[in-house]
Symmetry: none
Subunit: 231 residues, 2 copies
Amino acid sequence: MRAIILVEPQMGENIGAAARAMSNFGIEDLRIVNPRDGWPNSKAYDLAAHGSYVLDNAQIYTSLKSASNDLNFLYATTIQPRDMDKQVLHPKQLQQADASSNIGIIFGRERSGLTNEEISLADAIISIPTSSKNPSLNLAQAVAIASYELSQLISLKPVKKKLGELASKHDIDHFFDTFFANLSKTDFLKNPKIEPTMRINIRNMLARALKSTQDVKTMHGIVKALRKSDD
Amino acid sequence: MRAIILVEPQMGENIGAAARAMSNFGIEDLRIVNPRDGWPNSKAYDLAAHGSYVLDNAQIYTSLKSASNDLNFLYATTIQPRDMDKQVLHPKQLQQADASSNIGIIFGRERSGLTNEEISLADAIISIPTSSKNPSLNLAQAVAIASYELSQLISLKPVKKKLGELASKHDIDHFFDTFFANLSKTDFLKNPKIEPTMRINIRNMLARALKSTQDVKTMHGIVKALRKSDD
């Protein structure tokens, strides 16, 4: 279970944008403690886009304690580490949490954050490092970053893509044989002192380009076309 | 240098919220290509809060190429990996980039993202993994997550690996202009139906080879030599 708990959020827009970001990262359990403008809130729906189902399913509570009853591990978010005897984690350290436990991340009011009493209910503090010039994150953007890090705990589909059939070393060697045979007929490699080094450097450079069989075919075509052309 | 490049953003609110998030993470170089509603945009300022200085200093461009002239390394953000032969990175892999180079992260239009041609200008793709149920991130929230990850880079010591002076995007664009001008005189790109796709594929392939200013110089020399030669 992965829950986001908003304590006394003030702006419906922020609740909606937070729900959208949660949904983007597959975090769907939104709990709201005493929303200032009541519930439901049409401004929240305006900003939620395709994340509106997170708002539909949001639970409303009258205290942080009741909102976190069923969770095993609570993180409080603060901008500056407070003078409290609690472990302060970077958001990336969320990954060290037990992925099987029920985790809640608590966010405070836009203006004043969480009280020390509320923080005391948490097991640890998460502090998103921000610039001293402008330390205060928008609530929904803080939720977005926390949800992004939380989503790494859940196994999402790995980023994957097709590269096309990879060229064999044989194909690549053959290309360079043809290529250098062509280049030898020009004046480009005519300085015998540096020719071996130039060949190596050129090969190193072009080898970065030649990944798939299609790449090799295209390069053969380019060399042939350039050689045949006449100004 | 760490730049965020927004290509044809539609909503001023998103530009402002993006500027706020950038500022939160100490990323202050905002570049905007053809903002739909012109510039400056009062709605952007409404949302920027203490990040408004990022908007004050934002530069406006008429093309992605001109916006990225002075950068060495460009990342394009996409939701789903495209069927393009480019490395696809998780945002956390940004940390593998050379911290000493000038990095730009490109974000596309709210509705339609980046075109394949725009993506072809990038060195790699960054894909923020999202839920298949609601994959589409709000633009400003995507910028927030990228800025958050970028801010982790700044504190890293630059990776010491002398590759030679990195080529600027300007040098690389100039090479491709010359290269395609030469190739156009041959019969290689003569099929108008597939020419645009071929150009993109060829650029994607050769861009992998062109890292340093020396690489670019060498490739200019090779093209010139091959063109001048006669069997």
